[in-house]
Symmetry: C2
Subunit: 368 residues, 2 copies
């Protein structure tokens, strides 16, 4: 599987789109907002730039895509006015893999920009948007060209399925029954990927530039901890049921693994310190319930069971990967079963996504 | 009609897509290539930049989209190696209106970038691509951030249908039967739009930065000259036939006008001199036959009549405008008739598109 080609959230605006099934991700952005605001405030006050280049990495396509950057710009505008400084030009780069639905984002931009300019009032500088397709495990921007980088719920995705997972049959991710070699293969892939990510961003950010990253992660030091692996184990259950009924070929199931790693805070910190490009301002953990949707925002889920929104959210995220491996005919059935399994699980246990957020600055002594 | 929302070339890769019907535009790029190459060579030798930011305005979606920028980069790479200079980072911005099919471009980028990096060989810097949706009759990029701007066959499109065309019934553009007030309304809209374009680009380009623009234009000083207007008059014939048969409502036809102006060299020059932001290096006129396709490149047109490729090219360009005004049901029939009319016309007269190309530099005395 070529992750760069295959991985993307479900596009469009339909029932199974990411745009309509990303309330959890929205909640996470709200939870981490104080950290993001603190970082951009600090950046502005330290550097007082005349133009501000911001990148959102793994922006996807939906209501969250423009939310963070618009909040960042509003914070800076408020500060600028308070301090009586001249207007800034904002340049925003929205990044995701080439399969992301950029067309839908771009079509929404004219009305969004109009609304932004109303909110910002007269005298504010232009907000200029570009989309940058490509993997963030490689260079995306010129050297020393960015002031601020944000990424939420994207960096848990690896650049590839780790090699050496041949003995992970019956599982599609790290699981309680996975061998130590599988756990090691996943961790080493995370280390390689995240160190490349840090090096690329260090090249692209100006000295003193800020970066806030939120991983879907875990609290525990145990990489097969239930809090990060179990949601995929439940999907494996649905798939294994279909294998036993002959609806999915066994060898397809055996060779399928999710290219994701949900790190602990100390694993994130360790890579940042190893790289030496950044100093850490904050490292925090937060949690959000699997079914933490607000039915006021999304009436379609108000009368459905607890498994519905979680299964839909996971479908919006994982469908392209599953279609690539198993074809599109089995998808509805997989998620029908997954929804039941999730609903059953939620009724018995406390279920949470764990978020690891790190705020950092590019160190002054790292000059290219 | 909101031109910003409605105007875009036909997306995708299908039979009526712009991607498959833009051989004339490709020919024009080949014709103007020496001027573009001269301009980028001059820019590189004068400024010897460590990074090079290039924008292609009105890039559309198809084989032409990446052709010009890749040629520009190859020219600079060759020069750099010849002069023994260090590698550059290339940052390419592909611009078009928000309705353009950016998804198709972005999906083709990974293989294109791989191919580029092979051709450029080891030691070459990264080529970083972004898409910038928005009208070029407004700001798209930060101040002093671009080195080079290219645009081909885009600037003849106006920001809006000129006001004051109420007395242009039976026509959809300037025509031999249009009144002087219609011709004036079109020309004044061109002047307003092009002066805004020049001001915005002057803000975005660095001092000394280069810009090469190719308009679909005319040689004659007569704005209703056949060489620029007749291709639209033939479309009006097809539409008027359908009005007379009751297939199109007359008031819809009466209120439809194409937001395009095809300027003469002296009209282009006059706006550039008026703005005062740029010095002119070259101003040239070239011509390309309406049916100047090469059947080797496009076997599907090899056995069809002369009207086929021209009608398809015009359809790829004008379909979204026509659908917006008349709905999509009449489209096939319009172009069936248009094709016949064009074929008949080509057999009787020499038919050419006229291209006006201008190469210029941002003047040193214009500093923001």
């Amino acid at each position: 599987m070529e992750v760069v080609q295959v991985l993307h959230m479900n596009g469009g605006m339909g029932e199974t789109s990411y745009a309509n099934n990303s309330l959890v991700q929205q909640k996470v952005i709200s939870l981490t907002r104080p950290i993001i605001e603190e970082a951009i405030t600090d950046l502005y006050c330290r550097t007082l730039p005349r133009s501000l280049a911001i990148a959102d990495l793994g922006c996807s396509s939906g209501p969250n895509t423009l939310f963070v950057v618009s909040e960042l710009i509003k914070v800076v505008e408020k500060l600028r006015k308070k301090l009586g400084h001249e207007s800034l030009e904002y340049q925003v780069f929205l990044n995701d893999l080439p399969g992301n639905d950029f067309n839908t984002i771009f079509k929404s931009l004219p009305s969004f920009q109009k609304q932004m300019s109303c909110q910002m009032g007269p005298g504010a500088g232009p907000c200029l948007f570009s989309g940058t397709p490509g993997s963030f495990y490689g260079r995306l921007f010129p050297s020393n060209s960015l002031h601020f980088v944000h990424s939420s719920y994207s960096l848990q995705w690896l650049s590839q399925v780790p090699e050496g997972l041949d003995n992970n049959k019956g599982n599609i991710y790290m699981a309680s029954t996975s061998s130590p070699s599988v756990l090691r293969a996943y961790y080493e892939q995370f280390q390689r990927d995240f160190s490349v990510f840090l090096k690329c961003r260090a090249e692209e950010l100006m000295v003193g530039g800020g970066m806030v990253l939120t991983f879907l992660g875990r609290r525990s030091e145990d990489p097969s901890s239930k809090e990060c692996c179990y949601i995929w184990e439940l999907l494996a259950m649905a798939l294994n049921d279909m294998v036993s009924e002959g609806l999915i070929e066994e060898d397809k199931m055996d060779s399928f693994n999710i290219p994701q790693y949900r790190p602990s805070p100390s694993e994130v910190k360790s890579e940042v310190l190893k790289g030496g490009y950044f100093s850490i301002d904050r490292l925090e953990v937060s949690a959000v319930k699997w079914n933490d949707y607000d039915s006021e925002f999304n009436p379609s889920v108000a009368f459905s069971d607890d498994g519905y929104s979680v299964a839909n959210c996971m479908r919006a995220v994982a469908e392209p990967l599953l279609v690539n491996q198993f074809g599109d005919k089995i998808i509805d059935e997989v998620f029908r079963r997954y929804r039941k399994i999730i609903a059953d699980h939620i009724s018995k246990e406390k279920t949470q996504f764990i978020n690891v957020t790190i705020s950092m600055k590019k160190s002054g002594h790292f000059i290219i």
